[in-house]
Amino acid sequence: MDMTLDFLAVFLAQLQKPTLAFLLAGMVLAALGSRLDIPDAVYQFIVTVLLLKIGIGAGIALRDAEPGDILLPALAAIGLGVGIVFLGRITLGLLPNLRFGDSVATAGLFGAVSASTLAAGMVMLEEDGLSYEAWVPALYPFMDIAALLTAIVLAERARTKGKGALSLRAIITESLRGAALSALLLGVALGLLARPDPVYASFYEPLFRGFLSILMLLMGMEAYARLAELRRVAHVYAVYGLVAPLVHGALGFAVGGALHLATGFSPGGVVILAVMAASSSDVSGPPTLRVAIPSANPAIYIGTSTSLGTPVALLSIPLWMALAEVAFSQ
């Protein structure tokens, strides 16, 4: 009882945080018909800087990390990515009238990771002084690529009855060449091999929260805009979009908790893992799936992820933080 009250108090306080406020503000703006928008060139730059920052920070941390420390979490990330897609495929497969391609693509996006949700999680943890191994955000590509690949392979197997000659290598290469993962991995490499600490401290770090606030505004507007499209598609996806992030986040939290017990993985790290698992891809996943699973209807999987999955994942960040506070506070 006490624990529940504690949990609720922490959760409600979290909801007032600026990151989430900008998201909600974006939705309200769009709903009120505001003509405010962010230029595309600026948006592209903001995303690049955020991902470089995440990468450099992780890379610097990796300098001092033991390969052994990372191996298990990386496997866990891959496992979560694959597992979430299978879970989605099975759950949605139980329902009648859903087209296979649509459900696999949707599960694929929800298994993958949203960079903006990850960044929001990092800022919120920092604001609360909840620390984590700074290399944990570098687990992003492991979970992300694993999930997208699983979805693509499932779709391809269904189409070719298992006889397809799908080039996994080509898909992985294409994913890594995309702007988002390129920026992230470039950052990791720079952090690991060069000494970018001064420019990191004078530029990437200080701009992080501000750029994230702009991005949250935009995610809010986009979530609202996609809602209209989503309304025209099967309602079961709406339920999935609302519930899945919570289930996946809990799964991530549980896996992270196991890592904590096994290897001393930090509580903050557990939260970041939960946030990644809860998040669904909005930026880099959709084009990959559009090419690889052309039979799926993008209005369904993008709408479900962007207008429901991402807001729910973002709003659930305080949940994992509160949970961590309660679970690891002894």
């Binding site: 595309d40 600026v42 592209q44 930026v283 959709p286 084009p287 039979s295 993008i302």
Partner: protein, 104 residues
């Protein structure tokens, strides 16, 4: 003096840029122009200058001036029946008159 030629216009998402450009190159074309934009269609709205989350879904217009109508038709055929078959976008042809014929 002017020479008759044909202009092929292709509206497609940035996603398809590599495949469209490969097709044009394979057809032996020397050049084409690209203009970023936006629009509305059966797949909803594509913003022109305001941010849209996925840059690969931005609209590009290719304008290709070439001399041979048959080549233009073959390109349009491949585009509409293959590359863009399940993708947003459209293709049209217009007659034009050109100078500097050696460039084409």
């Amino acid at each position: 003096m002017t020479h008759p030629a044909i202009k092929l216009t292709i509206i497609a998402e940035r996603l398809l840029k590599p495949r469209v450009e490969a097709l044009l190159s394979q057809a032996g074309l020397n050049g084409w122009s690209i203009f970023p934009g936006g629009g509305r269609g059966t797949h909803g709205v594509h913003r022109a200058q305001a941010a849209q989350l996925v840059r690969e879904f931005a609209i590009l217009k290719f304008e290709v001036v070439l001399r041979d109508r048959a080549t233009a038709e073959a390109l349009a055929e491949t585009l509409t029946s293959d590359i863009m078959a399940q993708q947003p976008g459209l293709v049209w042809l217009e007659p034009v008159e050109i100078w500097r014929i050696r460039k084409f």
